[in-house]
Symmetry: C3
Subunit: 210 residues, 3 copies
């Protein structure tokens, strides 16, 4: 097993845990937990690969079935403990976000996408699984929660990764460095509750749009 | 028209009826009924074929437009009757589930997928249309209803189909046999209200997770 | 920049504005507004191209990133004004619907699809982005609103486009003519509040289905 595969499987596991936790919160059964863990963990990569026109990685390698299974079992046997571990979980999720956004951008660039499209596909890889998780569980996606800056670190990281590629700066060291930047930005955004403005300007702060 | 095509069209029709019935319940119009019938009937196969990288069957053969049309008309003209026929409908749906999960697994194996991926794609074919139906109608997918064992027979059937394939046991007789097993398991699960455990363990039975 | 590309970008912009307006109504932030504008604008074309098995247009051409950005900025800076412009917006949306349904049908026919499949893909191109917008924002899709005839003009236009193609009547003049028909039908349907029957027949008008 190579290092990139190991990192990828770790990301699938971290995202999978968030899927199984949502399944637990919504009262789904253990099978729903497994399905939601799998969709959250491999969904973003599937969307990326379908758009790239290649067979999704997760379908070429049976290893990808292990992390969602572990995630569902973990939540089944130690769910309240997992819930109490909210902070570590957010850190793990940030690691998944960081690894997926850089790996997704690089895969798109290697497939011949232009830097803009590759950035978008990197972001899709990073946030797509969580988006599918929430859509399928009939919940407003947490990516749209204005109190949390979830997508921004992934957008900056994917854009930076594509920019370095255009400048000819390549290699897994740089990939890890950008992932580290995304990870740190994400953790700082959680710690300091960074936000971006709402979809409408500030002169509208007191009115509710309907 | 070959037998497999006829079976497939029957499955599309059965699933389509469930889509049109949901459209009726939600107060959609006849066009929404037709669109939801189509999505439910052919959605699972489309997802499978897009992942396999082939043109979806339903787009290669205009026959696939007939079953959703019939389903929407049936619900329009005899909806209360259709609703009263809840038990036969569940039996038809079980037949669709059985046919789609074996046919989907075989198509994935023939396309060169490994047995794990083929099992997952068989399940996707069987439950994907119903999942899309509920997601698009903004409803928590019935596949996640812990009072019903919907996905489990499809998972067992797809796994069994892939296992037989690995052992070299192939042919449409075996395909029909596995479909029969899935059908019987599904009907028994409805009759005896089989369930699987919730996403969290039993020591947590009295607490609500939030 | 060619005329068809310009029309396409205009369609992406019009649909993008509807995505950003929904983001504003739901209280999403500016990043969510951008993501929802992008998904609404290019989502229908992505689904069409993924089914056709080609790289989505929006990923081949960085120009497609401009309209959603403009849409999100427009809504951010002048949202209440945009909201007051409800009528012009519906007209712009009708233009997007008309352009996307004819262009989508033609692209599918040129890719070798049969006329039925091409009609369905034309409709998918036209209504897919709005459907994804509503599904992702956890809202019952407005395409299913029985008080509005949204999908019907697109279905008629895509069918007409495919019929002309079969008859050998081709060329961009005809494409624009069909788009004009769709546009006029859509605007008339809004003006005269045209509707189609509900998913269940009229003998059921007083009863609620559950």
């Amino acid at each position: 097993m190579t290092m990139p595969l190991l990192f990828d499987l770790l990301g699938v596991f971290f995202f999978g845990v968030s899927g199984s936790l949502l399944a637990a919160r919504r009262g789904f059964d253990i099978v729903g937990s497994l399905l939601l863990a799998g969709l959250t963990g491999i969904g973003g990569g599937i969307v990326r690969d379908v758009i790239l026109g290649v067979v999704p990685t997760a379908f070429e390698n049976p290893y990808y079935f292990i992390p969602p299974t572990l995630a569902a079992l973990l939540v089944y046997f130690v769910a309240p403990g997992v819930q109490r571990l909210k902070r570590p979980l957010l850190v793990f999720d940030a690691a998944g976000l960081a690894l997926f956004c850089t790996a997704g951008t690089i895969k798109a660039l290697e497939a011949g996408m232009n830097p803009f499209a590759a950035t978008l596909l990197g972001v899709t890889t990073a946030v797509g699984g969580g988006l599918l998780r929430d859509v399928v569980a009939n919940k407003t996606p947490s990516i749209f929660d204005p109190r949390d800056l979830y997508a921004v670190p992934a957008m900056l990281g994917a854009g930076l990764m594509a920019g370095l590629w255009v400048l000819g700066v390549r290699g897994w060291v740089w990939e890890l460095a950008v992932a580290a930047v995304v990870f740190i930005l994400r953790v700082l955004s959680l710690k300091f509750r960074w936000r971006v403005p709402k979809a409408v300007g500030s002169w509208h702060r007191d009115a509710e749009l309907h």
